[in-house]
Amino acid sequence: MMAEVIALPKKEQSPFSFGKEEKKLITDPLSDNNPITVQILGVCSALAVTTLITKAIIMGIAVTLVTAFSNLITSSLRNYIPKSIRMIVQLVIIAFLVTVVELLLKALNYPIWKDLSVFIGLIITNCIVMGRLEAYAMANKPWKSFLDGIGNGLGYAIILVIVAFFRELLGKGSLMGFKIIGPSADYVLNTTDLSWLSWYTANNLFVLSPAAMFIIALVIWIQRSRIPKLVDIS
């Protein structure tokens, strides 16, 4: 009898409350605790899919979905997973969700699926998903884990889009597939009037993966100059 009284929380709280703490779970990964620039998770795919903005956006959405729902499922199951086989269980959950996302994309937008199917498969090996499962979902309640997944997915998507913007603009002279700068016949704008747009020669370095490293490094530089507490002295 006594134990029951103690176990009850003082204030009745809805499991889906959305207060200050929950809001922080979403906004923190956008800058202060960004998965790529601060936690160093998900760098590989940031190199692979950032040559075009469209790819980056779709990859960002797909990863957000997978992270959110795998966090939700793992967190609901966390008390039933034995520690010795937890990685296999986590990976089965991730692989299942990735398959769902891939089939969804195939059904909704076939041409883009054809372009991206290899990279969607690679979400399985994206460290963000498993990193958040290990670091957050295994120790927290389902609703909070779900929000944490959304926040981290969005934080990842933001960096992806920033990197892809520069890589596509400087490497191919286009944005979202439309030619903007550089000598080319298929301009969006009429070049005979706007010849100052055609001086640019596309820089092939930006199509190669090291360019993504340099751009992420610059993002980190700017971010850490603005938020001094992130600077590590080591």
Binding site: L47, S84, M87, N204, L208, P210, F214, A217, I220
Partner: protein, 177 residues
Amino acid sequence: MCSFLAVSKSVKTALGLGIAVIFVNGLTIPMNWLIDHYLLGEGGLFGMDLTFLRFIIFISTIAALVQLVEMVVEKFSPSLYNSLGIFLPLITVNCAILGASLFMITKEYNFTQSVSFGLGGGFGWALAIVAIAGIREKMAYSQVPPALRGLGMAFFLTGLMGIAFMGLMGIDPAAFK
């Protein structure tokens, strides 16, 4: 790639992770070869073509081995276990390992080739992470802007190293069209 950047602060931890990766890579690739040829293939144990299960089966093999490595490291070297943190379980999602398993299938290696491919791939990865850790340790003597210290510089160095290694392969004319 993520563990490559996160764990390369000191040569010692980098070496620990490098050895773990050599071990996992060297064992999973021959194991996946055996599984692929004797269980999943058409002439395999189940008598049907199960190759569509490759992804899940391969990643499970890797996860099982990494789990094993984690237990061993936790038991015998708690200090290394603590300094690696979540990046030890994240060996599972190291693209190099799953990628090598899939590569081994597409290149149709035989068993001995897959053994040496696994060991060689792991060894190359370990070499790269130890090299970058060495460079990062030396960076302590140079004047880097405070905001760029640590992680930012690691990204720059990895990019430069990537360009250097690309030079080893020679310049592919197709990339410049």
